[in-house]
Amino acid sequence: MKHRRRSKQQKLDSLPPPASPAIRAACPIPSPSASPKSPAPATPPPEQAPEVVVPDDWALATEVIASDLSSPVVLVCGPSNSGKSTFTRLLLNKLLPSYGRIGYLDTDVGQPEFSPPGCLSLHIADEAIADMWNPVLREAERCCFYGDISSKGDPESYLNSLFLLYNYFVEKYRCPGSEVLPLIVNTPGWVKGTGFDMLVEMLRYICPTIVVPIRTRMQRKNLPDGMFWLTGGETEPKVITIDAASRDSLSKSSLKRKDGGGMRERRLVEYFKQCFSSDISLATNKELAYALASLPPYEVSFSDVTVMHLHCEVPRTEIWHSLNATIVGLASSCDTPATAHAIPWCVGLGIVRGIDVQRGLLYVITPVAVEHLQSVDLLLQGLIEIPRSVLQVKGCESPYMSTNVRDKITGKDLYASNLNSPLSRQDDGDSDSDADTM
């Protein structure tokens, strides 16, 4: 089963490999079920934790990177659902024994590795990742709240936040003379059009020492071969191309498209579960929803916070209408780095669960510790949608969950009641589905 499929640059020019059975068997899919229908790494079967089978070229790639003893900066890129996150997890575990601590720059705002959605974050990992299949929340060293699930809305702020985090890392952890940490950069799966341009900018700014493009079998989805971001003259990084772990990319991607919103919702739910001590069991969404409704929130006076809308203009008279029952980034204006384009560090997310205009109080639910909250004076409102599951529990439904909403063409309209079209469904999870594919 050992195959030296790809290593370094000599393999760069080759087309996607022929579908060799050996590669198939070696894909990191649950070992008992090697059928083509097996789920993508991002969406594992929920019941048993499947054993991870590492493809040979992945193992080799991590070997090669680990053998680079000069604290590499590794950037992993590729189309969505090609296994970038999974590879970075593998890599992190591989590098950890030699370095002890590793920087991890998470730039995928749609599906961040250690943060809730909408955040760009820098982590200093000193613990191996146990769960290869699911992202796990970890506290960030530094975090910027971008406030949307795709960088397409505001590429400039996105890149600025990213550069800010990178600079912070370089200043703090890559000073010559002190301990120099390696860095793993995970990138969004949006690699076409503007997404490609942004990836190029990212690559040019960060100048990674190793780039790991992951290729899927759908050639038109892949990044161009070669060092597409170089204009010539720069020192060339090492490029290690590997193959996507999942073969059936067509069905996978459609599977993921449907699930993107669901995954984000689960992550947010998981994030806000941290508001409760771990000995409280919140097995179901219903329990969590009720617990969130019951939890005494933090209260903060209007005069102590400023509300910033990141992606919309909101008239001053409407700010509370805009803010009530939405997710905000909690940030502090005073420790905004001087070099930044006025992007404040974010300490975490909160739900503005109620507003008492007469008393001038905001009620906020957040897992952020109260001592960290004291410096928070900015509420950043983005477009991160509050999970519907926490808004409705019987007898405690949020007023923002409404019945009898008629704002879509329904199947009834189309067929005059002759068939029950999926169009009449009440929930639409497709509002963000094109985030990765645009």
């Binding site: 009720y290 019951s294 939890l295 933090y298 009530n324 109620g354 205009v357 509050i386 063409i409």
Partner: protein
Amino acid sequence: MEAAEDAGDAGGGRSTARKLVPWSSWEEWRFVRDAIFSPYPDPGAALRRIAAWRSRGCLPIPVEVTAALFEIRLRDPFFRNGVPSDDKLESDEMLALLYSMAIIRLVNGFMESPHKETGRSISDLAETVGVPRILVDIRHESSHRGIPSLRLLHLAAIKAFDWLKCNYWDSQTSAIPDVRLELSSVLHDTAQFLKGKDSENAKSGSKRKRSQKHILNAIRYVRRLYYTCPSEAVSVLLEFFQLDAPEISENSDVHQAGSLDANHSSDVQIQNQISNGDMKTIITKLSEKEPRVLLGLLKSVIEMIEARNDLEHKGGSYACLPAESSTMKNLCSLVLWIVTSIKELRDSGHIGLVQEIGVLSSDKNAVPRFCLAKLLQKFLSLPVIGERCIADAALLLIEMAGNNSVKEKLRKLTLLSLRRSPKDCTLLESRILSNGQESVESATQKLEAFKLQLRKPDNVNLAENGTQGTLNTSMPEKRNGWSIAKSWTPCPLGMIPCSYSSTAVLPVLDVIDDELKHDTAEHGDFEPDGEIEIFDCYAHPEQHLDGEGILEMPRSPPEHGISDMPELTSGLRGTLLVGGVWKKVTEEELLSIKSSMKILL
């Protein structure tokens, strides 16, 4: 039950599927609709609110496109009868681009997903659902060829706007469930049966059984409505009480035919009247399942008392009219009845008193103790505390709350009652009395708080802080950044607990303007909609006094059966009593009143 189900159908069919929307209530939605489509539109208000909705991230396509078309039309001289807009003149090309884009959004927004799902062509689909062909053509033209002429676009814009009005705004309007209507019909139905049951008490067992079952079904239906929209349901329930009747017997668990002839309010309701006794029976049954309905009712009644009291005080120096005072008496006796019912439910175990509601407490019928303290405080702060019923209700609360120190408090309360006993004097006098009494009241409360503290070091923090929270809201001393809210009671995200009744209320979210703040603290919200927590005059006594000026203007004896007016239960905000009728007023109107008041003074 048939009737109940029919009512459900009449209301457009109740779907339980919920969807995330950017508005907090259908009233808010209607406010925007009317600001766009009414004969006197308010474009600024509509577009501002839609901007807020957009920032919430779930703006429905039809709303988005309506807003876009509406805004473009505002800039187009064609729709302004040739009057150029105040700001920059848009060129024809610019307007054509704007219209084309809005129309593309309209067609694509509606057709994209049906197109993807069915594979049918856009024009085919458009024809099926009645989207005007011209819109589809413009989409095609402007996407693939050239921008159509402005003349054509004007025509198309009118069609698009009409189509949206008809296919979204009107169709949604008719789909909004009418809780009021449904609940009314169920209540009447039930009342009918109650009457029947009463006269047929001697009838055979099977018949009785059937009517029992019928009532149970009706109660279940009411319960479901209460689940969907608690505050609306409560306000409808309260509307059915004949509060302006000369007298409600305090122990009327059996319904009285006598109250039927009491309706001198002479309304359309005459044939539909449900006696207060029947209402109480219904509510008692309902509260066995949903104890919290009582707290909601109590809150509304207290609000009515406060509003009422404001009116009576505004009435001038002469004593209130008998009709009014009987309404007030009825309200007060209703308070006592509700508190009695709460106590009964407590005694029978339907309501559990707990120290604090845990986040995982599945017992939705648990009421934390500090709520009683808050309620008591509210009672004591009511201007009508001298009313026997309120004092009795307060006593009952005390009985429920603490056992040890009852005696002490009892003594204090009897003292209060005594001081207030010459209640029949003029209002002016009672006013002074009530003012002088405040110190006594606060002393009582403090004492009580101390007692609590001595008794249970754990719990008191809550009770005491709760007390202080309400007492000191106008003082800035406890503002030091972020702190955990005191005395929280569970309520849905997006709502806040009422300051005294522990029911969830939808907060008023309009920004209070700094200059307006003084005058508008009480009635300052110009939004003519929404379930609103009537201003807690106790928390801001000084603002309360300031706010009086607004209601003082119309000096008409309000004898028009106030209790029949829905405004009272759905909030007085943004309304002004003109000639005895509540009228919605705009900010500008209020401001002009304010300025003319200054001249008067």
